[in-house]
């Protein structure tokens, strides 16, 4: 025993008295720590407020550095690295490193010398993955105010791709120090974010909700300063479609002076579509209700995992009051495994995390989320002073408790089971919360499950009778399902509960027109134009209604009046060109249409039309075909219409126009060929028997239609056409003979 104590004291002497102790020096001890852990952010032009590259820069802050590493504030990293499985880009200092920093500071931060001169590693603020395949930028920069705490804003950037592409990597260059703290990257295919953007002054729109935008299916993508750039798990690239928008939500922190915000987003494409199924599991608690002063408010959520999955990423999320987060799995054998543990949550450093090795969750596990909140005055991050009751919601002063886990799934069947488990969780969790029901509706709608989405939206309107967007979405689904009367009813409900709901009123005007209530529609559109004088879509809609009423000159005057305002819109130019064609102002129409075809969207240096798409180019070609047709230049007309069809092979009006040109050319063989194409695509084109028949002029053409149907073995419609012809009384027996025989065969067979 004596011996033991004795040896211990020797150790103590060695450890603390440090005989022969030499003070740590910058070149030998400190620089390696700083270069390894700090300079990714702390370099000239980096996102941290000052550089820590040179001896001078580090030594003058030695005291503050010691304090921030001891408190754990720097390097910024919230997850507990002992309990949490290894994460990509993990940042933490060992106890020894922290002690070295303290000793160095206490010994007056000596520089020391070394035989080889110290060369700091080079750090780039450029793209880390080489030059991206597509760089997206803000249409115009946003100016962040100088004062205040948090600003949340969503920016809508059109994605200019000609065809579906798969994204494997995404980088963000903030182009500003300090101001951008966090970004969420989502995709909107509905154009609703654009509308929302246009209703809010300045670039982007305010708020923490992302509206109709969504994470790409099966993924979540965030960005935080200094994070290792996002790279999708091998085999799980995600698709972007032409004509969709990237909606980026920025959490910004004013710095004391106005900041110009205009980050760049670089997308890296993969040639391969995803080969690995993935899905995001989400749990959230919207029933949060924390009394003022409560320091230990817990939420606990759990979800069954019915199949084997592997977790590759995790995004825990709460607002300011959360303190402690534990997300863990209960294995079928009862053992627990931590997915992430955050002992001291700080909203300002929220991030998404990816595992170095996927974590296996066997079938029969349970995913758990336990969060603790502190709603007392002790919590510095408490947005309310004095503390007051806080409930769940989307505003930053509301509270949230949510986790998204990205998992890999082995088979389609497993994926379905997992989706069902997610829906079961949602149904149970939604209970009596209007917002929650609404959000599930959005989720289901995005999955294409319209009927189920409808029932959640309707539930939301029952729970909250003034829920304007829920009524709007109900209406929107009814419209998609083809029930215009119900659509109209619910758009009206939306407008009734929110009088200034311009989008709802616009939809009402469009449906009124479709239902033949033209006068009402015109009046509504005119009053909308008074309120939204620079809205393109309302102008186009009114022009179309006026044209329908044969008020061509009124439509012409309406658009000409706005020619300067909308001069960057290809859609506008086409509408105007169509009107000019109707008024026989061919030359001007031709110029407009050619200018659209000349716009090269990949060439950013010539400012062309902002909304240019293949569909609009096809429309321009089709109108040019019309012009040449009316000039009797039929071959040229045919060339143009074929150019249009090449770009837009699923547009029925293009086939009709082609038929008309062929009719003038008297090319019956090609006419019949086009008709066969039309009927074989009729389901995709949304053009059916009656509407095709209406486009046909003569008995011969109707006979051609009958044989076209017969050609594709669609005898039901072939016979129907034949009946139609027979009813008219004049027909050629010869032409119909084969059909009659066929019908006999058919009837016999079915007997």
């Amino acid at each position: 025993m004596r011996w033991y104590i004795c040896s211990l004291s020797i150790i103590l002497i060695i450890g603390f008295k440090k005989p022969g102790f030499t003070a740590p020096t910058f070149v030998e001890d400190i620089a390696p720590i700083i270069y390894q852990n700090c300079i990714q952010c702390h370099h000239e032009g980096g996102i941290a407020p000052f550089s820590l590259m040179t001896y001078e820069e580090v030594s003058k802050r030695s005291r503050q550095i010691t304090e921030v590493v001891e408190s754990g504030f720097m390097p910024p990293w919230m997850p507990d690295s002992e309990l949490t499985p290894a994460l990509i880009g993990e940042r933490f200092l060992s106890k020894e490193e922290i002690e070295l920093l303290r000793n160095w500071h206490e010994e007056s931060a000596p520089e020391g010398s070394s035989a080889t001169p110290l060369t700091p590693p080079s750090i780039t603020d450029e793209w880390q993955g080489g030059s991206p395949d597509l760089i997206l930028e803000f249409p115009e920069p946003y100016i962040l105010q100088e004062e205040g705490i948090d600003v949340y804003r969503n920016f809508v950037i059109p994605i200019s791709v000609d065809e579906k592409r798969y994204v494997r990597r995404l980088e963000l260059i903030p182009n500003t120090k300090l101001a951008i703290h966090h970004a969420l990257i989502t995709i909107d295919t509905t154009k609703r974010s654009r509308l929302q953007d246009s209703l809010d002054a300045g670039p982007g729109y305010e708020g923490m909700g992302i509206g109709s935008a969504e994470f790409p299916s099966g993924h979540f993508i965030g960005w935080t300063p200094g994070q290792v750039p996002y790279e999708s798990y091998p085999g799980t690239s995600w698709a972007i479609e032409p004509d969709s928008d990237l909606v980026i939500q920025l959490h910004m922190l004013p710095t004391g002076k106005p900041e110009v915000i205009s980050p760049q987003i670089g997308l890296y494409f993969s040639d391969e579509p995803p080969t690995q199924l993935s899905m995001t599991l989400q749990m959230r608690d919207f029933d949060i209700d924390i009394p003022a002063g409560e320091q230990n408010y817990w939420i606990k959520e759990s979800m069954k995992i019915p199949v084997d999955v592997r977790a590759v990423g995790i995004y825990p999320h709460a607002h300011y009051l959360a303190k402690e987060m534990n997300i863990f799995v209960t294995m079928p054998d009862g053992n627990e495994k931590t997915l992430i543990y955050i002992p001291e949550w700080d909203f300002n450093w929220q991030s998404d995390y990816r595992y170095i090795e996927p974590i296996t969750l066997p079938a029969g596990s349970q995913l758990n989320m336990h969060y603790r909140y502190d709603n007392s005055d002790e919590n510095v991050f408490n947005p309310n002073y004095p503390a007051k009751r806080v409930v769940g919601g989307w505003k930053s002063t509301d509270e949230m408790g949510e986790v998204v886990v990205q998992v890999l799934v082995d088979s389609d069947q497993d994926l379905q089971l997992l989706q069902q488990s997610q829906i079961d969780y949602d149904m149970e969790a939604a209970g009596g919360d209007a917002n929650y029901n609404y959000n599930i509706g959005i989720y289901l709608e995005q999955q294409g499950e319209l009927q189920r989405a409808l029932s959640f939206y309707l539930k939301a309107t029952e729970l909250d009778e003034s829920f304007a967007s829920a009524y709007y979405n109900v209406a929107d689904i009814y419209r998609k399902l083809g029930d215009l009367h119900f659509a109209l009813k619910y758009f009206n409900e939306a407008l009734a509960v929110r009088q200034d709901f311009g989008m709802a009123e616009f939809e009402i005007a469009k449906i009124e027109f479709e239902l033949g209530k033209t006068q009402g529609s015109v009046a509504r559109l005119k009053s909308l134009i008074e309120r939204y004088p620079d809205d393109l879509n309302i102008h186009l809609a009114l022009a179309r209604v006026l044209r329908h009423q044969d008020l061509i000159s009124d439509a012409y005057a309406l658009l000409m009046n706005k020619e300067i305002v909308f001069d960057k819109s290809a859609e506008f130019q086409i509408e105007l060109a169509q009107i000019e064609i109707e008024k026989s102002i061919y030359q001007s129409a031709e110029n407009r249409l050619n200018s659209i075809l000349e716009t090269n969207d990949s060439d950013k240096s010539t400012p062309g039309y902002l909304d240019i798409t293949e569909t609009l180019k096809a429309a321009a070609l089709s109108e040019l075909a019309q012009i040449f047709h009316s000039r009797d230049n039929l071959n040229e007309a045919l060339n143009y219409i074929d150019g249009a069809l090449e770009r837009e092979p699923l547009q029925s009006s293009l086939y009709i126009r082609r038929l008309a040109i062929l009719r003038s050319l008297e090319d019956t063989a090609e006419f019949s060929h086009t008709l066969i194409q039309l009927v074989s695509l009729s389901a995709q084109l949304g053009m059916h028997y009656q509407s095709i028949l209406e486009e046909l002029d003569s008995l011969e053409e109707k006979q051609t239609l009958a044989s076209a149907y017969a050609q594709i073995n669609d005898f039901e419609w072939a016979f129907k056409t034949a009946d139609e012809i027979i009813k008219s009384g004049i027909y050629s027996e010869e032409a119909l003979q084969p059909l009659k025989l066929k019908r006999r065969e058919y009837l016999l067979e079915s007997l």
Binding site: S71, E146, E147, T255, N348, V380, F381, Y385
Partner: protein, 189 residues
């Protein structure tokens, strides 16, 4: 507190003159101030220690500006103090321009002022009032407000405006005893 703020009035005179000549607020070297301490026409003088590369100090800029515009018309003078061996007039001007701080500045290159006033971080403020014996008396040293509780721990909005409440007391004419608080920020030494 041994230190007597003996150069103050001459320094003020310098500022007033230079302010009337240049639109920009003045800069003076701390060393260049020479004069006695007999009189001061202001009710109090606030020195705010700041630094161009200190994010915490910078976040306070709009608030400093609003305090200055509210209280300078009530007879209280404001100065920014840059205590840093590497500071230059040019750096100060760029900083004040970036953060719209149209307030006279003192270049405390040797950090003597910081040492004597007892300021150790940026942002930190010291407040002097003229006293009966004609000398200046330090009544407050510390944080501007409690916006920051620690590095990385800042409130949504301050709940205690320390500097402002000291100035309000001074303006009320009540006797203000010396008090101090701990300021959070970037170290001067």
């Amino acid at each position: 507190m041994k230190y007597k703020l003996k150069y103050l009035p001459a320094f003020l005179a310098y500022c007033v003159i230079s302010m009337s000549i240049f639109a920009e607020a003045s800069i003076a070297l701390y060393d260049s101030m020479t004069a006695d301490q007999q009189s001061s026409d202001s009710k109090a003088t606030v020195y705010i220690f700041t630094a161009p590369d200190c994010p915490i100090a910078n976040r306070f800029s709009p608030y400093i500006r609003s305090l200055e515009s509210e209280y300078s018309s009530k007879g209280i003078r404001f100065f920014l103090v840059y205590s840093n061996p590497k500071i230059t007039e040019q750096k100060v001007n760029i900083h004040r321009k970036d953060y719209h701080l149209d307030i006279p500045a003192i270049l405390d290159v040797d950090r003597d002022f910081a040492r004597t006033a007892g300021a150790s971080v940026t942002p930190e403020c010291v407040v002097y009032v003229p006293s009966n014996n004609g000398q200046s008396r330090l009544v407050y040293r510390g944080r501007i407000s409690n916006l920051y509780e620690d590095f990385g721990k800042w409130r949504h909005a301050h709940t205690e405006e320390n500097l402002k409440s000291i100035l309000d007391q001074i303006l009320k004419g009540v006797a203000v005893p010396f008090s101090s608080t701990k300021a959070i920020g970037c170290y001067i030494f």
